[in-house]
């Protein structure tokens, strides 16, 4: 068998596994409790993207680093919905002074509420294993 043929066999095998793998990832469910975004939350997500909130803020640690992570701001006992809404048009520090309407502020807050309901970050109660593995604490576990 020529080398080219061998290579094509290896690549095809990888692609078959890759397709099955992709299929599973694309149909991924949340660990236990799937969270579906409401249309209000989708609107918030749209605003989040249009205004590039992600370039300064992180969700689950992903994003830019000039501002704080916002994964659990909503459920933080010292913060919460009103706190979030107050920040939006405040123009604090490097954060631009946005000009959101009450409705827009509400949808951003709802979007952050949905995110909050999916899990924890930082995951302070994670469990470390000797083989380097980390068992995350999930939202619906006690």
């Amino acid at each position: 068998m020529s080398n080219a043929k061998k290579n094509i066999i290896v690549i095809s095998t990888l692609i078959v596994i890759f397709s099955i793998y992709n299929f599973s990832v694309y149909n991924l469910r949340d660990y236990k409790q799937p969270v579906k975004l409401s249309s209000k939350a989708i609107q918030g997500q749209q605003l989040w993207q249009e205004n590039n909130c992600w370039s300064c803020h992180q969700i689950y640690g992903l994003g830019g680093y000039l501002g704080p992570d916002l994964t659990n701001t909503f459920s933080n006992p010292k913060k919460g919905k009103e706190y979030i809404k107050t920040f939006l048009n405040s123009g604090i520090k490097s954060m631009p002074k946005f000009n959101f309407s009450e409705d827009e502020k509400e949808s951003i807050a709802i979007f952050l509420k949905y995110i909050d309901s999916t899990g924890y970050y930082p995951n302070y109660e994670a469990n470390f294993k000797l083989n380097g593995w980390v068992e995350l604490k999930y939202k619906d576990e006690e």
């Binding site: 990888l14 989708i42 205004n51 689950y60 949905y114």
Partner: protein, 460 residues
């Protein structure tokens, strides 16, 4: 040499690099003086400008280099020169479209691809044209492909796939489920980087085999083994970006296993190649060689860093800090940019052998590049460690207090970034000058200017 479009890609790439570096500096400046530019060009504009420009540099320079190698060094007859022209025009027009989209605030895309998603259509089209032209050319003319032809081909195909995947959020079934959405998003980014690495590492292997005048390093069993290892990582290794997201654990298990094998690829090949390199050959491509050695050093550093934080227990602490930025800029600058500089110097030595490489700007530029990049990288790591400490080992300290306490670290990032920028600008301008000189009086410069003119007219 008739077809000069490859060189136009390189000039476009270098221009994107210079623009990118400028915005990088503006971004770093906002860390030390948050209010200074906020009203004119806030961080949420600067960052996408910076990231998109620098990524474009990598992708465009790889594209131009590959076109150049197959047409001007391998002397293969391109399947269609119309396609390469069209590819170039599509990319330059879309590139300008992206900046216009940023300037007018139409940035409804996501991280790294913040421009209006509609612009992805011409980008994909450009890649498809590249793919058609590439495969038609190579399949017709080359039997028994050396590894770099496989790598470039794979890179192009997966680039098309993962660029599309990065836009799956446009489909409601993805964006409505947050965890699935964010996982697929970062899956696509990981593999997207893997795809351009296929192009860039292929270029590194190509140049090596040419400097060595020995194709065996690009044909052996080992090199193909590493190619497949790289491909496996491209497909399944992305999830270390998302260890911390509450997905199904099996995805993270797979990624943990797979990512442990990464990075051995390039270092092995370069090490092997260096062993057998004779002195004379080195001289004739001096600059290209030197940059490859620098890339070797950065592969080594980033290998250690990446292997460490692919371990979930370490990733737990490094994730979400500037350690990630040290990794991304360490690899995009230290490895990708360095290999691509090697590529452009190699190309310049081919088209213009009388080009004097011991020019002041190049020599000092390269030294400044290495030193400032190293310091820049170290300070990013320090910033990351401090933030991680704040997140996990301190209590009741506000985010803003933590940021304020990092003032001098951020200042250092800016200062070293300035050094890095100066070095990149001096190397970049020297290369742009040589390339444009070569192009002067050529029809393609006319094509380039004509395109620009059309666009400028269109804008008004």
């Amino acid at each position: 040499m008739k077809n000069k479009t490859a060189l136009l890609f390189l000039i476009l790439a270098l221009t994107a690099l210079l623009i990118g570096v400028f915005f990088g500096l503006l971004a770093a400046l906002q860390y030390i003086i948050p209010d200074l530019l906020k009203d004119y060009i806030p961080f949420n504009k600067v960052r996408p400008f910076h990231v998109t420009s620098t990524i474009s540099w990598i992708v465009l320079c790889a594209t131009g280099s590959i076109y150049f190698f197959i047409t001007q060094i391998e002397h293969l007859k391109l399947f269609s020169s119309k396609l390469i022209h069209t590819h170039f025009i599509i990319f330059i027009v879309t590139g300008i479209g992206i900046y216009v989209s940023f300037l007018t605030g139409k940035m409804e895309g996501r991280e790294y691809l913040a421009y209006s998603p509609i612009l992805t259509i011409p980008i994909l089209l450009g890649w498809i044209l590249f793919g058609v032209n590439y495969f038609k050319t190579i399949i017709q003319n080359v039997k028994n492909w050396p590894v770099y032809y496989w790598m470039w081909g794979t890179g192009i195909i997966f680039m098309i796939y993962h660029l599309s995947e990065a836009h799956f959020w446009l489909i409601p079934n993805f964006r409505e489920y947050f965890i699935r959405d964010i996982s697929v998003q970062w899956k696509s980014y990981g593999s997207f980087v893997g795809s351009w690495n296929m192009l860039v590492y292929g270029i590194a292997i190509y140049i090596m085999s040419k400097i060595k005048k020995d194709e065996s390093s690009a044909r052996g069993k080992t090199v193909f083994f590493f190619y497949f290892l790289g491909l496996t990582n491209l497909m399944f290794g992305w999830a270390h970006h998302t260890y911390i997201i509450p997905t199904q654990p099996w995805i993270r298990y797979v990624a943990y296993g797979v990512s442990m094998t990464e990075w051995i690829l390039l270092i092995y090949i370069i090490r092997e190649w260096k062993k057998s390199l004779t002195k004379e050959d080195k001289k004739s491509y001096c600059m290209a060689y030197k940059f490859l050695i620098t890339a070797d050093f950065w592969v080594f550093l980033n290998l250690i860093l990446a292997l460490l934080f692919s371990i979930p227990a370490i990733n737990f602490f490094t994730h979400g800090t500037h350690i990630t930025v040290a990794h991304s800029m360490g690899t995009t600058i230290g490895i990708n940019t360095t290999i691509l500089f090697a590529s452009v110097f190699f190309i310049v030595s081919k088209i213009n052998p009388s080009f004097k490489i011991n020019q002041f700007a190049v020599k000092y530029g390269r030294n400044l590049f290495r030193i400032s990049l190293f310091l820049f990288w170290i300070t990013l790591l320090i910033a990351g460690v401090k933030k991680s400490y704040w997140m996990y080992f301190s209590e009741n300290i506000f985010f803003s207090e933590m940021q304020d306490s990092l003032y001098y670290v951020y200042l250092a990032i800016f200062v070293f970034g300035m050094g890095l920028a100066i070095s990149i600008i001096s190397l970049g301008t020297v290369l742009i000058r040589v390339l444009t000189k070569t192009l002067k009086n050529q029809e393609n410069l006319v094509l380039y200017s004509a395109t620009l003119l059309i666009i400028i007219n269109y804008q008004y």
